[in-house]
């Protein structure tokens, strides 16, 4: 069983389609069970490959052996003066750097292993998840300022379809999304910017009471519930700015 739209659905999940094609595929995804199953499988595979299990540590012996080989090599080779050639590689990387700036930076920074949320409270878990994402550089798994790209990316990856809107006009541009684990739950995280600060908007199916607003380790948290979803906005912007952002999100929903 398959569908002729597999390729576009797959490219769409990777954020590789333009807005028009994304909208087409998004519509198709709503009704095609084959492509929905494909998105779910792609989400599971993505979770395993991006998770902590995939990140291994090179054995110490290997590291030492490589160091010795390099030392030996450096000692014996007389180097020619450094000449900058305009090779195919160079041209490619100049182009690539322009096109995939954010994801390349994210990939380069993704050296710190993602730590599972540890403490008991929701507040602590959210603050931990937010800080872990910032530290690991993996704050954005799908990079896009278009809700046509970000919203459907969650299909098959998160247990809900979070509201996604761009508030660039109001100073909070949409920059992408990711999925975080909060305790035993998966939460959809829609990522916004405000100046140099990141604001993470978490959404998950409600399964208990929410804390009051709180501050943890220099980050502000604002909680609220709507329908059967719970929300939390987490950021190090000023609390008044975070509350203004929350009002925007609420007004968009209402």
């Amino acid at each position: 069983m398959s569908c002729t739209e597999y390729e576009r659905t797959s490219a769409f999940l990777d954020g590789e389609l333009d807005d028009r094609e994304s909208a087409e595929v998004e519509q198709h995804l709503e009704t095609c069970p084959h492509c929905q199953a494909l998105a779910a499988a792609a989400g599971d595979a993505s979770e395993l490959l991006r998770g902590p299990a995939a990140r291994l540590t090179a054995p110490a012996g290997l590291r030492a052996r490589i160091g010795q080989r390099l030392d030996a090599e450096a000692a014996t080779v007389v180097r020619l003066p450094r000449v900058r050639r305009q090779s195919g590689w160079d041209r490619f990387w100049v182009g690539a750097a322009g096109g995939v700036g954010v994801s390349a930076i994210a990939a380069a920074l993704a050296l710190v292993a993602f730590l599972p949320p540890s403490p008991a409270t929701l507040t602590g878990e959210l603050a931990d998840a937010h800080i872990d994402a910032l530290m690991s550089g993996r704050t954005i798994a799908v990079v896009s300022s278009s809700h046509h790209t970000v919203k459907p990316w969650f299909a098959g990856r998160a247990p809900l379809s979070p509201p996604v809107a761009d508030f660039a006009q109001q100073g909070f541009p949409l920059t992408g999304g990711r999925v975080d684990r909060i305790g035993r739950q998966k939460a959809a995280v829609v990522v916004y910017r405000h100046g140099a600060h990141e604001i993470d908007l978490y959404a998950w199916p409600t399964d208990g009471a929410l804390p009051m607003g709180a501050d943890r380790r220099g980050y502000h948290l604002v909680f609220w519930a709507e329908g059967d979803l719970s929300f939390a906005a987490v950021s190090d912007v000023q609390r008044s700015e975070l509350e203004a952002f929350v009002q925007l999100v609420k007004s968009e929903r209402g």
Binding site: D44, L49, G95, V100
Partner: protein, 168 residues
């Protein structure tokens, strides 16, 4: 240490764990991964003059991928690459975390075992290294359309096999 060696230590060696992880999941073998990474780091060191600082990681990952391909070709000539799965090295902080990670690593390896080399490598580069289609195309020396169709087929294959398992 000469400056070339120092620069390599500063810019390339921080990616050693990532290079090892990539080699491990491409080859699905801890032993082969060590050979591949050692080979790749030496090649990278010799060609280090040709790369700029900010693009070291994808450049290095491309070399790891090419060394994996060479390794497969070499082993195939000799004997044929079997499914040799050694246990992954344990450097995790606690026994509990290690047990959980080991179970996830088995799931990950079982998933990758379902895919032919051509599909596995594009999925790994896309998800583990977060490369764009353009970057993957350049890394494997194939058109973007090929990357797109291989990724779709890899995911379609996983979907079909997983659905079949669930149906049993």
């Amino acid at each position: 240490m000469d400056s070339h060696r120092t620069e390599f230590e500063r810019l390339a060696m921080p990616h050693l764990d990532a290079a090892y992880s990539l080699a491990h999941w491409l080859s699905r073998s801890a032993v082969d991964a060590e050979d591949i990474v050692q080979d790749a780091m030496l090649r990278a060191f010799r060609a280090f003059d040709t790369v700029r600082g900010e693009s070291v990681r994808p450049w290095l990952m491309t070399i790891v991928r090419n060394c994996f391909r060479d390794h497969v070709a070499r082993v195939n000539r000799l004997e044929g690459l079997g499914d040799r799965l050694e246990q992954a090295p344990s450097d995790d902080p606690s026994p509990e975390a290690e047990a959980a990670a080991a179970s996830d690593r088995r799931r990950l390896d079982a998933m990758l075992a379902l895919l032919p080399d051509d599909y596995r490598e594009v999925l790994i580069l896309r998800e583990m290294e977060d490369m764009s289609y353009r970057e993957i195309a350049d890394a494997i020396g194939a058109p973007i359309g090929t990357v797109m169709s291989r990724l779709a087929r890899a995911r379609g294959l996983l979907k079909d096999k997983w659905l079949a398992e669930d149906g049993r």
